[in-house]
Symmetry: C2
Subunit: 267 residues, 2 copies
Protein backbone atom coordinates (compact mmCIF):
# COMPACT_ATOMS: atom_id res chain seq x y z
CA UNK A 1 0.00 0.00 0.00
CA UNK A 2 2.80 2.41 0.79
CA UNK A 3 5.17 3.11 -2.06
CA UNK A 4 8.93 3.36 -1.64
CA UNK A 5 9.16 7.02 -2.46
CA UNK A 6 6.48 9.39 -1.32
CA UNK A 7 3.97 6.90 0.03
CA UNK A 8 0.62 5.75 -1.29
CA UNK A 9 -0.81 7.23 -4.49
CA UNK A 10 -3.51 9.19 -2.68
CA UNK A 11 -5.83 11.61 -4.46
CA UNK A 12 -8.89 13.59 -3.41
CA UNK A 13 -12.03 11.43 -3.37
CA UNK A 14 -14.92 13.53 -4.67
CA UNK A 15 -15.82 16.70 -2.82
CA UNK A 16 -14.43 16.35 0.72
CA UNK A 17 -13.85 18.67 3.68
CA UNK A 18 -10.57 20.47 4.31
CA UNK A 19 -8.85 19.72 7.62
CA UNK A 20 -7.36 22.89 9.12
CA UNK A 21 -4.85 22.53 11.96
CA UNK A 22 -4.70 25.80 13.85
CA UNK A 23 -1.30 26.61 15.39
CA UNK A 24 -0.23 22.93 15.59
CA UNK A 25 2.75 22.38 17.87
CA UNK A 26 4.30 19.01 16.98
CA UNK A 27 5.32 17.98 13.47
CA UNK A 28 4.90 14.33 14.54
CA UNK A 29 1.23 15.02 15.08
CA UNK A 30 0.85 16.67 11.67
CA UNK A 31 2.20 13.49 10.08
CA UNK A 32 -0.14 11.34 12.16
CA UNK A 33 -3.05 13.60 11.16
CA UNK A 34 -2.23 13.04 7.47
CA UNK A 35 -2.31 9.28 8.05
CA UNK A 36 -5.66 9.45 9.88
CA UNK A 37 -7.10 11.61 7.10
CA UNK A 38 -6.02 9.11 4.46
CA UNK A 39 -7.72 6.32 6.43
CA UNK A 40 -10.99 8.21 6.17
CA UNK A 41 -10.61 9.33 2.57
CA UNK A 42 -9.81 12.97 3.36
CA UNK A 43 -7.10 14.70 1.34
CA UNK A 44 -7.04 18.49 1.80
CA UNK A 45 -4.91 19.72 4.70
CA UNK A 46 -4.15 23.31 5.74
CA UNK A 47 -1.93 24.60 8.53
CA UNK A 48 -2.38 27.93 10.29
CA UNK A 49 0.84 29.28 11.81
CA UNK A 50 2.53 25.98 12.74
CA UNK A 51 4.62 26.65 15.87
CA UNK A 52 7.91 25.28 14.54
CA UNK A 53 7.53 26.52 10.97
CA UNK A 54 7.06 24.46 7.83
CA UNK A 55 8.14 22.11 6.27
CA UNK A 56 9.26 19.74 9.04
CA UNK A 57 10.86 16.41 8.11
CA UNK A 58 9.39 14.75 11.22
CA UNK A 59 5.90 15.14 9.77
CA UNK A 60 6.89 13.20 6.64
CA UNK A 61 8.58 10.53 8.78
CA UNK A 62 5.39 10.03 10.76
CA UNK A 63 2.89 9.98 7.88
CA UNK A 64 3.25 6.21 7.20
CA UNK A 65 2.42 6.42 3.52
CA UNK A 66 0.21 9.52 3.58
CA UNK A 67 3.03 11.85 2.51
CA UNK A 68 1.05 13.03 -0.52
CA UNK A 69 -1.26 14.96 1.80
CA UNK A 70 1.72 16.76 3.31
CA UNK A 71 3.17 17.51 -0.15
CA UNK A 72 -0.15 19.09 -1.15
CA UNK A 73 -0.97 21.08 2.02
CA UNK A 74 -1.01 24.88 2.23
CA UNK A 75 0.18 27.09 5.09
CA UNK A 76 -1.73 30.18 6.21
CA UNK A 77 -1.01 33.03 8.61
CA UNK A 78 -4.50 33.30 10.05
CA UNK A 79 -7.65 31.23 10.46
CA UNK A 80 -9.47 33.93 8.50
CA UNK A 81 -7.17 33.37 5.54
CA UNK A 82 -7.42 29.58 5.82
CA UNK A 83 -11.25 29.61 5.67
CA UNK A 84 -11.65 32.49 3.21
CA UNK A 85 -12.65 30.31 0.22
CA UNK A 86 -14.86 27.94 2.23
CA UNK A 87 -18.65 28.02 2.58
CA UNK A 88 -19.16 26.04 5.74
CA UNK A 89 -16.78 25.62 8.67
CA UNK A 90 -17.09 23.49 11.81
CA UNK A 91 -14.75 23.88 14.78
CA UNK A 92 -13.92 21.03 17.13
CA UNK A 93 -14.28 22.06 20.74
CA UNK A 94 -13.91 19.48 23.51
CA UNK A 95 -14.95 21.81 26.33
CA UNK A 96 -18.17 23.82 26.70
CA UNK A 97 -17.77 27.59 26.21
CA UNK A 98 -19.93 30.50 27.19
CA UNK A 99 -21.03 31.26 23.67
CA UNK A 100 -24.24 30.91 21.71
CA UNK A 101 -23.44 28.33 19.08
CA UNK A 102 -24.79 25.22 17.42
CA UNK A 103 -23.10 22.09 18.78
CA UNK A 104 -22.90 18.92 16.70
CA UNK A 105 -21.81 15.42 17.58
CA UNK A 106 -19.04 13.97 15.39
CA UNK A 107 -21.64 11.81 13.64
CA UNK A 108 -24.04 14.70 13.22
CA UNK A 109 -21.26 16.90 11.85
CA UNK A 110 -20.18 14.20 9.38
CA UNK A 111 -23.73 13.87 8.07
CA UNK A 112 -24.02 17.65 7.62
CA UNK A 113 -20.61 17.83 5.94
CA UNK A 114 -21.59 15.09 3.51
CA UNK A 115 -24.83 16.89 2.73
CA UNK A 116 -23.03 20.21 2.20
CA UNK A 117 -20.33 18.59 0.03
CA UNK A 118 -23.05 16.94 -2.05
CA UNK A 119 -24.35 20.49 -2.67
CA UNK A 120 -20.82 21.38 -3.86
CA UNK A 121 -20.19 23.64 -0.88
CA UNK A 122 -16.56 23.82 0.24
CA UNK A 123 -16.31 22.74 3.86
CA UNK A 124 -13.65 22.91 6.53
CA UNK A 125 -12.92 21.39 9.92
CA UNK A 126 -10.91 23.42 12.44
CA UNK A 127 -8.75 21.60 14.99
CA UNK A 128 -6.99 23.58 17.71
CA UNK A 129 -3.44 23.36 19.03
CA UNK A 130 -2.55 20.31 21.14
CA UNK A 131 -2.43 22.00 24.52
CA UNK A 132 -5.05 24.73 24.53
CA UNK A 133 -7.49 23.97 21.72
CA UNK A 134 -9.12 26.68 19.62
CA UNK A 135 -9.57 30.11 21.18
CA UNK A 136 -12.80 32.12 21.17
CA UNK A 137 -11.85 34.13 18.08
CA UNK A 138 -11.10 30.93 16.13
CA UNK A 139 -14.51 29.57 17.06
CA UNK A 140 -16.25 32.76 15.97
CA UNK A 141 -15.10 31.88 12.41
CA UNK A 142 -17.14 28.67 12.46
CA UNK A 143 -20.76 27.89 11.58
CA UNK A 144 -20.98 25.37 14.40
CA UNK A 145 -18.94 23.53 17.01
CA UNK A 146 -18.32 19.80 17.12
CA UNK A 147 -18.14 18.08 20.47
CA UNK A 148 -17.48 14.32 20.46
CA UNK A 149 -19.63 12.36 22.88
CA UNK A 150 -16.90 10.57 24.85
CA UNK A 151 -16.07 9.66 28.44
CA UNK A 152 -16.52 12.92 30.40
CA UNK A 153 -14.02 11.64 32.98
CA UNK A 154 -11.31 11.62 30.32
CA UNK A 155 -11.82 14.01 27.42
CA UNK A 156 -8.18 14.76 26.57
CA UNK A 157 -7.90 13.65 22.94
CA UNK A 158 -4.64 13.43 21.02
CA UNK A 159 -4.78 15.67 17.90
CA UNK A 160 -4.44 12.78 15.43
CA UNK A 161 -7.06 10.81 17.36
CA UNK A 162 -9.44 13.76 17.14
CA UNK A 163 -8.91 13.92 13.38
CA UNK A 164 -9.28 10.12 13.18
CA UNK A 165 -12.76 10.23 14.69
CA UNK A 166 -13.96 12.82 12.15
CA UNK A 167 -12.21 11.06 9.23
CA UNK A 168 -13.78 7.77 10.31
CA UNK A 169 -17.24 9.30 10.64
CA UNK A 170 -16.83 11.05 7.28
CA UNK A 171 -16.12 7.73 5.58
CA UNK A 172 -19.10 6.05 7.29
CA UNK A 173 -21.52 8.59 5.80
CA UNK A 174 -20.96 7.10 2.34
CA UNK A 175 -20.29 3.49 3.34
CA UNK A 176 -22.90 0.81 2.87
CA UNK A 177 -21.19 -2.21 4.41
CA UNK A 178 -23.69 -4.35 6.29
CA UNK A 179 -23.04 -4.37 10.06
CA UNK A 180 -22.81 -8.19 9.99
CA UNK A 181 -21.98 -10.50 7.12
CA UNK A 182 -20.66 -14.05 6.83
CA UNK A 183 -17.43 -14.26 4.85
CA UNK A 184 -17.62 -17.61 3.07
CA UNK A 185 -15.01 -17.26 0.28
CA UNK A 186 -15.29 -20.21 -2.17
CA UNK A 187 -18.08 -21.97 -0.29
CA UNK A 188 -21.59 -20.80 0.63
CA UNK A 189 -24.11 -21.14 3.41
CA UNK A 190 -25.73 -24.58 3.22
CA UNK A 191 -29.43 -24.92 2.50
CA UNK A 192 -31.73 -26.34 5.18
CA UNK A 193 -32.02 -29.55 3.12
CA UNK A 194 -28.25 -30.09 3.23
CA UNK A 195 -28.16 -29.37 6.96
CA UNK A 196 -31.03 -31.84 7.48
CA UNK A 197 -29.08 -34.43 5.51
CA UNK A 198 -26.17 -34.05 7.91
CA UNK A 199 -28.41 -34.14 10.99
CA UNK A 200 -29.94 -37.40 9.74
CA UNK A 201 -26.43 -38.84 9.30
CA UNK A 202 -25.47 -37.71 12.82
CA UNK A 203 -28.63 -39.04 14.47
CA UNK A 204 -28.33 -42.37 12.62
CA UNK A 205 -24.81 -42.83 13.94
CA UNK A 206 -25.82 -41.76 17.44
CA UNK A 207 -28.65 -44.32 17.31
CA UNK A 208 -26.20 -46.96 16.10
CA UNK A 209 -23.75 -46.34 18.95
CA UNK A 210 -26.52 -46.25 21.56
CA UNK A 211 -26.08 -42.59 22.57
CA UNK A 212 -29.83 -42.03 22.06
CA UNK A 213 -30.99 -45.28 23.66
CA UNK A 214 -33.08 -43.50 26.37
CA UNK A 215 -36.36 -43.37 24.41
CA UNK A 216 -38.21 -40.73 26.50
CA UNK A 217 -35.24 -38.36 26.33
CA UNK A 218 -34.44 -39.03 22.67
CA UNK A 219 -36.70 -36.34 21.05
CA UNK A 220 -35.39 -33.61 23.35
CA UNK A 221 -31.76 -34.59 22.79
CA UNK A 222 -32.21 -34.61 19.01
CA UNK A 223 -33.94 -31.24 19.19
CA UNK A 224 -31.11 -29.72 21.23
CA UNK A 225 -28.55 -30.88 18.65
CA UNK A 226 -30.78 -29.45 15.94
CA UNK A 227 -30.90 -26.06 17.76
CA UNK A 228 -27.12 -26.03 18.08
CA UNK A 229 -26.44 -26.74 14.41
CA UNK A 230 -29.12 -24.30 13.23
CA UNK A 231 -27.40 -21.44 15.03
CA UNK A 232 -24.23 -21.05 13.04
CA UNK A 233 -25.06 -20.46 9.36
CA UNK A 234 -23.06 -23.58 8.50
CA UNK A 235 -21.45 -23.59 5.08
CA UNK A 236 -21.40 -26.43 2.56
CA UNK A 237 -17.66 -26.90 3.16
CA UNK A 238 -18.18 -27.15 6.91
CA UNK A 239 -21.00 -29.68 6.39
CA UNK A 240 -18.65 -31.88 4.34
CA UNK A 241 -16.13 -31.69 7.18
CA UNK A 242 -18.82 -32.55 9.73
CA UNK A 243 -19.99 -35.54 7.66
CA UNK A 244 -16.37 -36.71 7.64
CA UNK A 245 -15.97 -36.16 11.38
CA UNK A 246 -19.08 -38.24 12.20
CA UNK A 247 -18.13 -41.01 9.76
CA UNK A 248 -14.57 -41.24 11.10
CA UNK A 249 -15.63 -41.13 14.76
CA UNK A 250 -18.22 -43.88 14.12
CA UNK A 251 -15.69 -45.91 12.16
CA UNK A 252 -13.14 -45.55 14.97
CA UNK A 253 -15.73 -46.73 17.42
CA UNK A 254 -16.65 -49.76 15.29
CA UNK A 255 -12.98 -50.65 14.82
CA UNK A 256 -12.39 -50.32 18.57
CA UNK A 257 -15.45 -52.50 19.21
CA UNK A 258 -14.09 -55.12 16.80
CA UNK A 259 -10.68 -54.92 18.48
CA UNK A 260 -12.28 -55.44 21.89
CA UNK A 261 -14.24 -58.46 20.60
CA UNK A 262 -11.07 -59.89 19.07
CA UNK A 263 -9.25 -59.51 22.40
CA UNK A 264 -12.10 -61.16 24.33
CA UNK A 265 -12.09 -64.08 21.90
CA UNK A 266 -8.34 -64.48 22.35
CA UNK A 267 -8.56 -64.61 26.14
CA UNK B 1 -8.48 15.83 34.47
CA UNK B 2 -5.07 14.25 34.89
CA UNK B 3 -3.75 14.00 38.43
CA UNK B 4 -0.16 14.70 39.38
CA UNK B 5 0.69 11.16 40.31
CA UNK B 6 -0.73 8.28 38.33
CA UNK B 7 -3.11 10.22 36.10
CA UNK B 8 -6.89 10.48 36.12
CA UNK B 9 -8.97 8.56 38.65
CA UNK B 10 -10.30 6.12 36.07
CA UNK B 11 -12.46 3.13 37.01
CA UNK B 12 -14.38 0.53 35.02
CA UNK B 13 -17.73 1.91 33.80
CA UNK B 14 -20.29 -0.88 34.09
CA UNK B 15 -19.70 -4.10 32.17
CA UNK B 16 -17.27 -3.27 29.35
CA UNK B 17 -15.16 -5.26 26.89
CA UNK B 18 -11.54 -6.21 27.54
CA UNK B 19 -9.00 -4.92 25.02
CA UNK B 20 -6.37 -7.58 24.28
CA UNK B 21 -3.19 -6.50 22.49
CA UNK B 22 -1.61 -9.56 20.92
CA UNK B 23 2.22 -9.46 20.72
CA UNK B 24 2.37 -5.63 20.76
CA UNK B 25 5.73 -4.27 19.64
CA UNK B 26 6.02 -0.67 20.87
CA UNK B 27 5.49 0.41 24.47
CA UNK B 28 4.61 3.90 23.16
CA UNK B 29 1.63 2.38 21.39
CA UNK B 30 0.50 0.53 24.52
CA UNK B 31 0.39 3.87 26.34
CA UNK B 32 -1.50 5.50 23.48
CA UNK B 33 -3.95 2.57 23.48
CA UNK B 34 -4.64 3.14 27.19
CA UNK B 35 -5.41 6.79 26.46
CA UNK B 36 -7.75 5.93 23.58
CA UNK B 37 -9.53 3.35 25.76
CA UNK B 38 -10.06 5.92 28.51
CA UNK B 39 -11.57 8.31 25.95
CA UNK B 40 -14.18 5.69 25.10
CA UNK B 41 -14.84 4.53 28.66
CA UNK B 42 -12.97 1.22 28.36
CA UNK B 43 -10.83 0.10 31.29
CA UNK B 44 -9.69 -3.54 31.04
CA UNK B 45 -6.45 -4.10 29.13
CA UNK B 46 -4.55 -7.35 28.59
CA UNK B 47 -1.26 -7.95 26.81
CA UNK B 48 -0.27 -11.21 25.15
CA UNK B 49 3.51 -11.69 24.95
CA UNK B 50 4.58 -8.05 24.52
CA UNK B 51 7.74 -8.06 22.37
CA UNK B 52 9.94 -6.02 24.70
CA UNK B 53 8.64 -7.47 27.98
CA UNK B 54 6.61 -5.71 30.64
CA UNK B 55 6.48 -3.25 32.37
CA UNK B 56 7.91 -0.55 30.08
CA UNK B 57 8.23 3.01 31.37
CA UNK B 58 7.60 4.43 27.87
CA UNK B 59 4.02 3.15 28.01
CA UNK B 60 3.35 5.12 31.20
CA UNK B 61 5.01 8.21 29.70
CA UNK B 62 2.69 8.03 26.68
CA UNK B 63 -0.60 7.35 28.51
CA UNK B 64 -1.40 11.06 29.10
CA UNK B 65 -3.41 10.50 32.25
CA UNK B 66 -4.65 6.96 31.55
CA UNK B 67 -1.91 5.33 33.65
CA UNK B 68 -4.51 3.58 35.83
CA UNK B 69 -5.31 1.25 32.93
CA UNK B 70 -1.65 0.28 32.65
CA UNK B 71 -1.39 -0.25 36.43
CA UNK B 72 -4.35 -2.62 36.25
CA UNK B 73 -3.51 -4.59 33.10
CA UNK B 74 -2.58 -8.28 33.04
CA UNK B 75 0.03 -10.02 30.89
CA UNK B 76 -0.58 -13.43 29.30
CA UNK B 77 1.61 -15.92 27.46
CA UNK B 78 -0.98 -16.94 24.88
CA UNK B 79 -4.20 -15.67 23.29
CA UNK B 80 -5.88 -18.80 24.60
CA UNK B 81 -4.96 -17.83 28.15
CA UNK B 82 -6.00 -14.21 27.64
CA UNK B 83 -9.51 -15.16 26.42
CA UNK B 84 -10.06 -18.16 28.72
CA UNK B 85 -12.53 -16.41 31.08
CA UNK B 86 -14.39 -14.55 28.30
CA UNK B 87 -17.67 -15.52 26.64
CA UNK B 88 -17.50 -13.58 23.40
CA UNK B 89 -14.40 -12.47 21.51
CA UNK B 90 -14.08 -10.34 18.36
CA UNK B 91 -10.83 -10.03 16.43
CA UNK B 92 -9.92 -6.95 14.41
CA UNK B 93 -8.74 -7.90 10.94
CA UNK B 94 -8.04 -5.20 8.37
CA UNK B 95 -7.43 -7.60 5.47
CA UNK B 96 -9.73 -10.29 4.11
CA UNK B 97 -8.64 -13.87 4.88
CA UNK B 98 -9.56 -17.17 3.34
CA UNK B 99 -11.62 -18.31 6.28
CA UNK B 100 -15.29 -18.80 6.94
CA UNK B 101 -16.13 -16.22 9.55
CA UNK B 102 -18.67 -13.60 10.49
CA UNK B 103 -17.40 -10.10 9.67
CA UNK B 104 -18.70 -7.07 11.54
CA UNK B 105 -18.24 -3.37 10.96
CA UNK B 106 -16.85 -1.40 13.91
CA UNK B 107 -20.33 -0.01 14.53
CA UNK B 108 -21.96 -3.40 14.20
CA UNK B 109 -19.42 -4.93 16.57
CA UNK B 110 -19.93 -2.18 19.13
CA UNK B 111 -23.69 -2.76 19.10
CA UNK B 112 -23.22 -6.51 19.58
CA UNK B 113 -20.68 -5.95 22.37
CA UNK B 114 -23.08 -3.63 24.17
CA UNK B 115 -25.86 -6.18 23.85
CA UNK B 116 -23.61 -8.99 25.12
CA UNK B 117 -22.31 -6.88 28.02
CA UNK B 118 -25.91 -6.01 28.94
CA UNK B 119 -26.48 -9.77 29.22
CA UNK B 120 -23.48 -9.87 31.61
CA UNK B 121 -21.32 -11.78 29.14
CA UNK B 122 -17.60 -11.05 29.39
CA UNK B 123 -16.36 -9.78 26.05
CA UNK B 124 -12.97 -9.20 24.49
CA UNK B 125 -11.48 -7.39 21.51
CA UNK B 126 -8.30 -8.77 19.96
CA UNK B 127 -5.86 -6.39 18.24
CA UNK B 128 -2.84 -7.78 16.41
CA UNK B 129 0.78 -6.64 16.42
CA UNK B 130 1.60 -3.39 14.63
CA UNK B 131 3.30 -4.85 11.60
CA UNK B 132 1.58 -8.13 10.76
CA UNK B 133 -1.80 -8.11 12.50
CA UNK B 134 -3.36 -11.21 14.01
CA UNK B 135 -2.41 -14.57 12.55
CA UNK B 136 -4.86 -17.29 11.52
CA UNK B 137 -4.60 -19.15 14.84
CA UNK B 138 -5.38 -15.94 16.77
CA UNK B 139 -8.45 -15.40 14.64
CA UNK B 140 -9.65 -18.96 15.19
CA UNK B 141 -10.08 -17.97 18.88
CA UNK B 142 -12.67 -15.35 17.97
CA UNK B 143 -16.44 -15.50 17.48
CA UNK B 144 -16.24 -12.97 14.66
CA UNK B 145 -13.92 -10.58 12.86
CA UNK B 146 -14.20 -6.80 12.82
CA UNK B 147 -13.27 -4.94 9.66
CA UNK B 148 -13.56 -1.15 9.73
CA UNK B 149 -15.12 0.35 6.62
CA UNK B 150 -12.39 2.81 5.66
CA UNK B 151 -10.58 4.07 2.56
CA UNK B 152 -9.52 0.88 0.72
CA UNK B 153 -6.65 2.83 -0.86
CA UNK B 154 -5.12 3.38 2.58
CA UNK B 155 -6.06 0.82 5.21
CA UNK B 156 -2.90 0.91 7.34
CA UNK B 157 -4.17 1.89 10.77
CA UNK B 158 -1.96 2.79 13.71
CA UNK B 159 -2.65 0.44 16.66
CA UNK B 160 -3.88 3.22 18.97
CA UNK B 161 -6.04 4.59 16.13
CA UNK B 162 -7.58 1.15 15.64
CA UNK B 163 -8.40 0.96 19.35
CA UNK B 164 -9.69 4.54 19.24
CA UNK B 165 -12.29 3.68 16.60
CA UNK B 166 -13.65 0.78 18.67
CA UNK B 167 -13.53 2.77 21.93
CA UNK B 168 -15.34 5.63 20.22
CA UNK B 169 -18.00 3.33 18.76
CA UNK B 170 -18.39 1.59 22.14
CA UNK B 171 -19.15 4.91 23.83
CA UNK B 172 -21.63 5.91 21.10
CA UNK B 173 -23.77 2.80 21.76
CA UNK B 174 -24.81 4.23 25.13
CA UNK B 175 -24.71 7.92 24.27
CA UNK B 176 -27.88 9.88 23.66
CA UNK B 177 -26.50 13.29 22.71
CA UNK B 178 -28.61 14.87 19.99
CA UNK B 179 -26.71 15.21 16.69
CA UNK B 180 -27.42 18.98 16.66
CA UNK B 181 -28.23 21.29 19.54
CA UNK B 182 -27.99 25.03 20.13
CA UNK B 183 -25.81 25.92 23.11
CA UNK B 184 -27.42 29.04 24.57
CA UNK B 185 -25.96 29.16 28.10
CA UNK B 186 -27.78 31.81 30.19
CA UNK B 187 -30.07 32.96 27.40
CA UNK B 188 -32.66 31.06 25.35
CA UNK B 189 -34.05 30.94 21.83
CA UNK B 190 -36.41 33.87 21.32
CA UNK B 191 -40.11 33.33 20.67
CA UNK B 192 -41.58 34.29 17.30
CA UNK B 193 -43.33 37.26 18.98
CA UNK B 194 -39.99 38.65 20.19
CA UNK B 195 -38.43 38.16 16.77
CA UNK B 196 -41.43 39.90 15.16
CA UNK B 197 -40.95 42.78 17.58
CA UNK B 198 -37.38 43.20 16.39
CA UNK B 199 -38.35 42.92 12.71
CA UNK B 200 -40.95 45.66 13.22
CA UNK B 201 -38.26 47.85 14.80
CA UNK B 202 -35.90 47.14 11.90
CA UNK B 203 -38.48 47.78 9.17
CA UNK B 204 -39.65 50.99 10.88
CA UNK B 205 -36.11 52.33 10.88
CA UNK B 206 -35.53 51.21 7.29
CA UNK B 207 -38.73 53.02 6.29
CA UNK B 208 -37.57 56.10 8.20
CA UNK B 209 -34.21 56.21 6.44
CA UNK B 210 -35.72 55.57 3.03
CA UNK B 211 -34.11 52.18 2.39
CA UNK B 212 -37.55 50.73 1.55
CA UNK B 213 -38.77 53.69 -0.47
CA UNK B 214 -39.28 51.58 -3.67
CA UNK B 215 -42.94 50.62 -3.00
CA UNK B 216 -43.26 47.73 -5.52
CA UNK B 217 -40.04 46.11 -4.19
CA UNK B 218 -40.76 46.77 -0.51
CA UNK B 219 -42.77 43.57 0.29
CA UNK B 220 -40.13 41.32 -1.29
CA UNK B 221 -37.26 43.09 0.48
CA UNK B 222 -39.01 42.84 3.84
CA UNK B 223 -39.73 39.16 3.21
CA UNK B 224 -36.09 38.44 2.38
CA UNK B 225 -34.97 40.04 5.64
CA UNK B 226 -37.60 38.01 7.45
CA UNK B 227 -36.28 34.77 5.85
CA UNK B 228 -32.72 35.61 6.90
CA UNK B 229 -33.58 36.32 10.53
CA UNK B 230 -35.88 33.29 10.79
CA UNK B 231 -33.01 30.99 9.83
CA UNK B 232 -30.75 31.28 12.81
CA UNK B 233 -32.64 30.32 15.98
CA UNK B 234 -31.89 33.79 17.36
CA UNK B 235 -31.63 34.01 21.13
CA UNK B 236 -33.15 36.67 23.39
CA UNK B 237 -29.67 38.02 24.14
CA UNK B 238 -28.87 38.31 20.42
CA UNK B 239 -32.22 40.09 19.82
CA UNK B 240 -31.32 42.65 22.48
CA UNK B 241 -27.99 43.20 20.72
CA UNK B 242 -29.73 43.53 17.35
CA UNK B 243 -32.22 46.07 18.75
CA UNK B 244 -29.23 48.06 20.01
CA UNK B 245 -27.43 47.77 16.67
CA UNK B 246 -30.44 49.10 14.73
CA UNK B 247 -31.09 51.91 17.22
CA UNK B 248 -27.47 53.04 17.23
CA UNK B 249 -27.11 52.86 13.44
CA UNK B 250 -30.31 54.90 13.02
CA UNK B 251 -29.19 57.38 15.66
CA UNK B 252 -25.80 57.69 13.98
CA UNK B 253 -27.56 58.36 10.69
CA UNK B 254 -29.81 60.99 12.25
CA UNK B 255 -26.85 62.65 13.94
CA UNK B 256 -24.89 62.62 10.67
CA UNK B 257 -27.93 64.04 8.91
CA UNK B 258 -28.16 66.79 11.52
CA UNK B 259 -24.42 67.41 11.18
CA UNK B 260 -24.78 67.71 7.40
CA UNK B 261 -27.68 70.11 7.79
CA UNK B 262 -25.65 72.16 10.27
CA UNK B 263 -22.75 72.29 7.81
CA UNK B 264 -25.00 73.32 4.94
CA UNK B 265 -26.50 76.07 7.10
CA UNK B 266 -23.00 77.32 7.98
CA UNK B 267 -21.92 77.51 4.35
Amino acid sequence: MTGRDGGADLRPIGHSPVVILVRPQLADNIGAVARAMANGGLFHLRLVAPRDGWPQQRAWNNASGAQRLLDALTVHDTVQDAVADLHRVFATCPRPRHIVKTVLTARGAAAELREACNRALSCGLLFGPERAGLDNDDMAQADALIRYPMNPAFTSLNLAQAVMVMAYEWWQTADETLPRTLMTNETQVATKAKLENFLTHLVDQLDACGFLRNAPKRPGMVRNLRHLFQRGEITEQELRTLHGVVTELALGRRQRGRLERDMIEKI
